[in-house]
């Protein structure tokens, strides 16, 4: 029967070519949508490298306040923070922080290699306040203030990119402006761009003690809410009346970040689904028309001893064979992406997208062919033969 099906499909190749390309097009669209989807899903499932729950970011804009005054006011803020039981930890950093729109990208080099990295300037308390994870070495300490060579903490990805399998600990790197840094610690990858962004090379530089800092990060108790936030803001504004101060919950910043990054993905997904829906409608229509044109054949087959089930199976079988031929072609094209490393996407993402696309196409083809095939099967043989 399979040979018979192949013959029928081959002999109707002109009619079937359109369907074949329709399915192929649909598969390539699905492959692209799934590749995007799995690409981001994979990031989403990976750890961020820091905690965002019960973390607040305080945006400090000291406007025209002179540098010495900023230092004094920030010290007063620190003293005040220590008096609040709701605050478990706090730290200072520059503008570059998770879920924010600031970046600082600089080149680093050794004698053998050079790599670009995102640079964060953070104080000694940042590591614990942000709930980061150390892999090797240590985070910054007070003694680093007088260290002969400026210290740096790097992420695992940066260490691997720069030194391969060697440990980065104790190694020197030259920052873009020829500042020498000594690596004192390696932390887990710090995905500051959020859940939907991949691992990046990052380097943490130490913020000098009492250096004015535009960002304050707080680890608060989970019971701390809007009332405490208002009180804290009021206290800060009393200390720094000329400053613009804003407190943001990092959980909320994360949600906003995800929403912003999901918009293009959702838009692409909707376009993809719309295209696939159109293809499905097309397939359904073509099959419906096809069955209408093949009433005579259905009648003959029924007269020759075919059951309703066999008629339905034949039509579904024909579409499945066509879908398989289209998918063979589609998979051939899709496989080129991981083989040729067209984009920086992991092979497993492509494989998952190839398989998911196949699954959807087979389901789609089955659904689109099921009802017309059922209609064909239910056709009364005497009626089918009469309406030639």
């Amino acid at each position: 029967m399979i040979r018979h099906l192949f013959k029928l499909i081959w002999n109707q190749k002109r009619k079937n070519l359109g369907i074949l390309f329709e399915i192929l097009f649909s598969y390539m669209v699905l492959f692209a949508v799934f590749t995007f989807g799995f690409f981001y899903l994979r990031f989403y499932l990976q750890p961020l490298g820091f905690e965002y729950k019960d973390r607040w970011a305080v945006f400090l804009n000291w406007n025209d306040t002179p540098g010495e005054d900023v230092e004094t006011i920030q010290q007063a803020m620190v003293d005040q923070l220590k008096g609040h039981v709701e605050i478990e930890r706090f730290a200072f950093s520059n503008e570059v922080m998770p879920f924010a729109n600031y970046i600082n990208f600089t080149g680093f080099k050794t004698e053998e290699k050079s790599e670009g990295a995102y640079v964060f300037t953070a104080d000694d308390r940042y590591f614990q306040t942000m709930g980061m994870h150390l892999q090797e070495g240590r985070w910054f300490e007070e003694e680093d203030e007088s260290a002969p060579v400026l210290p740096a903490v790097v992420t695992r990805s940066f260490g691997k990119a720069m030194f391969g399998t060697d440990s980065p600990l104790g190694k020197s790197i030259i920052e873009g402006d020829n500042t020498q840094r000594k690596i004192i610690g390696v932390v887990d990858d710090f995905r500051f761009g959020g859940d939907l962004e991949g691992r990046n090379n990052s380097v943490f530089l130490r913020m000098a003690t009492r250096q004015p800092a535009p960002r304050m990060l707080l680890k608060v108790k989970s019971s701390a809410g809007a009332a405490f936030e208002a009180k804290l803001l009021k206290d800060f504004q009393r200390l720094a009346p000329g400053w613009s101060i804003e407190i943001k919950y990092m959980e909320e910043m994360r949600r906003t970040n995800i929403r912003q990054r999901l918009i293009p993905l959702i838009a692409f997904g909707i376009i993809g689904l719309f295209l696939v829906f159109n293809v499905a409608l097309g397939l359904f229509g073509v099959l419906w028309q096809n069955i209408g044109k093949r009433r005579e054949e259905i009648g003959v087959r029924r007269a020759m001893g075919s059951t309703q089930k066999e008629i339905a199976s034949q039509f579904i079988g024909e579409m499945t064979v066509l879908a398989t031929l289209s998918l063979l072609l589609g998979v051939f094209f899709a496989v080129q992406f991981p083989l040729l490393h067209v984009f920086k996407v992991a092979t497993e993402v492509y494989i998952a997208a190839i398989l998911a696309g196949m699954l959807v196409i087979y389901s789609l083809v089955f659904l689109c062919s099921f009802f017309p095939s059922l209609q064909a099967a239910r056709m009364h043989p005497a009626v089918a033969l009469r309406d030639e």
């Binding site: 043989p381 005497a382 033969l385």
Partner: protein, 221 residues
């Protein structure tokens, strides 16, 4: 072989009731060649469809080879048709996208016969109708008479005991029609195949053992 008892067939729409067959009682003996005649629209094809289990009577009973077919499922009826009945239609009803050989093989597909055996049986059937040399042709490449011979090969490939022919010479000229009639007569005489043939052609009908005439759905002789 084929027995119809008080067979009625009524087509009903919302407003109109059309009686296609009215109390038909008919017996066709094994090995008989029966011709059914009558004017257009008298119910000849409906009668043939009921005999061939392609249609169900509104009332009455149909039995073939002593099997009462009432209550048979779709699958049972299909298998019964496949095993016992061959069909020849006026407009051949060949599948144009399949070669002659593949068209003839169709009834064997539903018997789960192996590919090799199918081809052998189809070749034998085509030899019987003199078309062995046209196996690789498509129906569109054949003449009307050749198409009808392919249809006969398809009807006999499964060696059914009954062949139902609905105006098999209706679309053919007299020479080709005579050729087809010759094949049907041979099948009847040499193999003992029971043949029921609907025809408008009195000359053809006279070659049968018996003629049944219908008028307005009723048997008149």
């Amino acid at each position: 072989m084929i027995a119809l008892q008080n067979v009625n067939k009524v087509y009903q729409t919302k407003s109109i009731e059309t009686v296609a067959l009215n109390r038909i009682n008919l017996e066709v003996a094994g090995g008989e060649f029966l011709a059914i005649m009558g004017p257009s629209g008298c119910g000849k094809s409906t009668l043939l469809n009921i005999m061939g289990l392609l249609d169900e009577p509104t009332d009455g009973a149909v039995s073939i080879n002593a099997s009462d077919l009432k209550g048979y499922s779709d699958k049972q009826l299909a298998r019964f048709r496949n095993k016992h009945i061959g069909f020849v239609f006026q407009s051949y009803h060949l599948i144009n996208d399949l070669q002659v050989m593949d068209n003839v093989e169709i009834p064997l597909l539903y018997r789960r016969v192996s590919g090799k055996e199918r081809r052998q049986l189809a070749a034998e059937a085509l030899s019987r109708v003199g078309l062995r040399n046209r196996m690789e042709h498509f129906p569109t490449q054949l003449s009307g008479g050749q198409c009808q011979r392919v249809a006969i090969a398809r009807a006999i490939v499964g060696q059914p005991s009954i062949i139902l022919a609905d105006e098999p010479t209706g679309n053919l000229d007299s020479v080709m029609g005579a050729e087809i009639m010759e094949i049907l007569l041979q099948l009847n005489q040499e193999n003992g195949t029971t043949i029921v043939m609907v025809t408008h052609d009195e000359t053809m009908a006279r070659q049968a053992h018996r003629i049944v005439r219908l008028f307005d759905g009723s048997q008149v002789m």
